[in-house]
Amino acid sequence: MAGGEGPVAECREHLFKVLVIGELGVGKTSIIKRYVHQLFSQHYRATIGVDFALKVINWDSKTLVRLQLWDIAGQERFGNMTRVYYKEAVGAFVVFDVTRGSTFEAVSKWKHDLDSKVLLPNGSPIPAVLLANKCDQKKDGSQNPSQMDQFCREGGFVGWFETSAKDNINIDEAARFLVENILANYKTFPNEENDVGKPKLDLDPLKAESKSQCC
């Protein structure tokens, strides 16, 4: 490796497993495709089981973050399968569709499922961000911000965003916010298992050459 044991020794690489959950058809796959591939299509097929995607973020000059995104099928019929999927996750997006009230009602169910199956090493819930998706189709007065803030406080969400995968609204912002929360946890418990990747002494030269942030 080009870097050897030189001055870049402080660089850190993290691998974070992040879940994307919520009712079927709320746009989980679309959000991920927008975030990772900068693409939108009306034509994604329903996710069966789980799909994987990876997003690499040059977080700052010293930190590379790899987000391993687990896109989990909205129709969960496998009983305990989410337990298998949730294992070792350090963050989550819970998504609902602003045009369908029933998907918002299911948010608490998903959050509860999450908290009952995965915890941080210190026993606290993993940071979860609530996404009110399809906001481009929003009818007037659907999400009252102060009500949503309260809902998040009571429901244990670290925050919420109105998003649109179609119009690329707030997806990067929501991801950045979640990663900040994950990193904050990591700093509190730096030696715990929640950092799946091992801190590296030198940077992969291929990645080091890119200075721009892509998230």
């Binding site: 079927l24 058809g25 990772v36 591939h37 900068q38 693409l39 299509s41 009306q42 034509h43 994604y44 097929r45 329903a46 069966i48 089981g49 789980v50 799909d51 994987f52 995607a53 990876l54 997003k55 690499v56 040059n58 790899r66 391993q68 099928a73 129709q75 019929r77 496998f78 009983g79 305990n80 399968m81 298998v84 029933s102 291929l206 990645k207 890119s210 721009s212 892509c214």
Partner: protein
């Protein structure tokens, strides 16, 4: 004007822009030149199913050989006899059914149509009436509270069933699919509608439609057909799909025990036939459930072009317990087919991206034939000798 008129008949060309490539290069693209990459991408992702649906090899439709003509004759003879010999029909169908006789052969193989010639017409008439009786009786209940969730899920999934094939974007076709799935779901409350079942209607619908369509089925406008014809296609698709699902019901009941069992069985089988691949998965903590759940739940339909699924089902319907048992060996053969690519991947992420985007877009009858032969070999080596090769 077809959305796919620019798709060459030889689909090997498309491969480079498949979703598989997309996700596999995503990481690089993101780090290096996000903008450039974005512009070079097509507006819609190209999905394998745009390849010709019908049963040709991907290299186009070759002229019929003498052997194929003889085979077709053999089928015609079997099908027109007073009492079709179903054992013989299965034997002939195993290596693939000629397109011309596939609709009637499938109806017979699935157990929908009786072997006795004289009873066929009446049976069809009766079953079609029975199906439309269900529609009349139950379909209005889709908006009632106790069926609302079922209908809503189906309604969301139908537009995203084969989303890139124009045929399936037609309102009439989508309505047919909704009716078939809704009636099946409420008549099978132990499972109800489970995502993936929507895919399973497709091969039947396409095959039964092909009886009336000379040109490419995927671009056919169904408003050209009479209502009677459409109703027959709909009812036949419903009954044949029901027969198929009868054999794999435990795939879709609560906690999907059939799938759990089959994924475990696949793991067990692969550990015996290819220890190296099995250990490679273990090394990188890849669990079979993470990729094979979909293989079982959708009978490999998400991994193969539709024309290949249709060919595969010729055999599944000829093989005893084809969909429920033989499928396992097909999955094992399918996995091992990619052993080199698998062993080349050196991390969890790379392995999962590979396994969820296997490059089968150019596949045709030849590849499926080889896959089935290998599956058959595995079945006979391992089926009744569970510890045969255990070290």
């Amino acid at each position: 004007p077809s959305a796919f008129s620019d798709v060459p008949t030889n689909c090997k060309v498309i491969k480079s822009s498949s979703e598989a490539q997309l996700s596999r290069t995503a990481e690089e693209a993101c780090v290096r030149t996000p903008l450039q990459k974005q512009q070079s991408l097509p507006l819609r992702p190209v999905i394998p199913l745009v390849a010709r649906i019908s049963d040709q090899n991907a290299s186009g439709a070759p002229p019929m050989t003498v052997r194929e003509k003889t085979r077709l004759e053999k089928f015609r003879q079997l099908l027109s006899s007073h009492n079709t010999d179903l054992d013989e029909l299965r034997k002939c169908s195993w290596p693939g059914v000629p397109r011309e006789v596939r609709p009637v052969t499938w109806r017979l193989l699935s157990g929908y149509l009786p072997a006795n010639m004289e009873r066929r017409k009446l049976t069809l008439q009766r079953k079609r009436e029975e199906y439309f009786g269900f529609i009349q009786q139950y379909y209005d209940s889709r908006n009632e509270e106790h069926h609302q969730d079922t209908y809503r899920q189906i309604h969301i999934d139908i537009p995203r069933t084969n989303p890139l094939i124009p045929l399936f974007q037609q309102p009439l076709v989508q309505e047919i699919f909704e009716r078939i799935l809704f009636i099946w779901a409420i008549r099978h409350p132990a499972s109800g509608y489970v995502q993936g079942i929507n895919d399973l209607v497709t091969p039947f619908f396409v095959v039964f439609l092909s009886e009336y369509v000379e040109e490419d089925v995927e671009n056919f406008d169904v408003t050209n057909l009479s209502q009677d014809v459409l109703r027959s296609i709909e009812a036949d698709s419903f009954w044949c799909m029901s027969k198929l699902l009868d054999g794999i019901q435990d795939n879709y009941t609560f906690a999907q025990p059939g799938i759990q069992k089959k994924v475990k069985a696949l793991e067990e089988l692969v550990s015996r036939i290819d220890e190296q691949v099995h250990n490679h998965f273990r090394k990188y903590e890849v669990e079979y459930l993470q990729f094979a759940f979909r293989w079982m739940n959708n009978l490999l339909m998400r991994e193969l072009p539709l024309r290949c699924t249709i060919r595969l089902w010729d055999t599944y319907q000829s093989e005893p317990e084809g969909f429920s048992h033989f499928h396992l060996y097909v999955c094992a053969a399918f996995l091992i087919k990619w052993r080199k690519e698998i062993l080349d991947e050196e991390d969890f992420q790379g392995l999962l991206m590979l396994l969820q985007n296997l490059p089968t877009i150019h596949w045709g009858n030849e590849e499926i034939g080889l896959l089935l032969a290998e599956a058959y070999r595995l079945k006979y080596m391992f089926a009744d000798a569970p510890n045969h090769y255990r070290r």
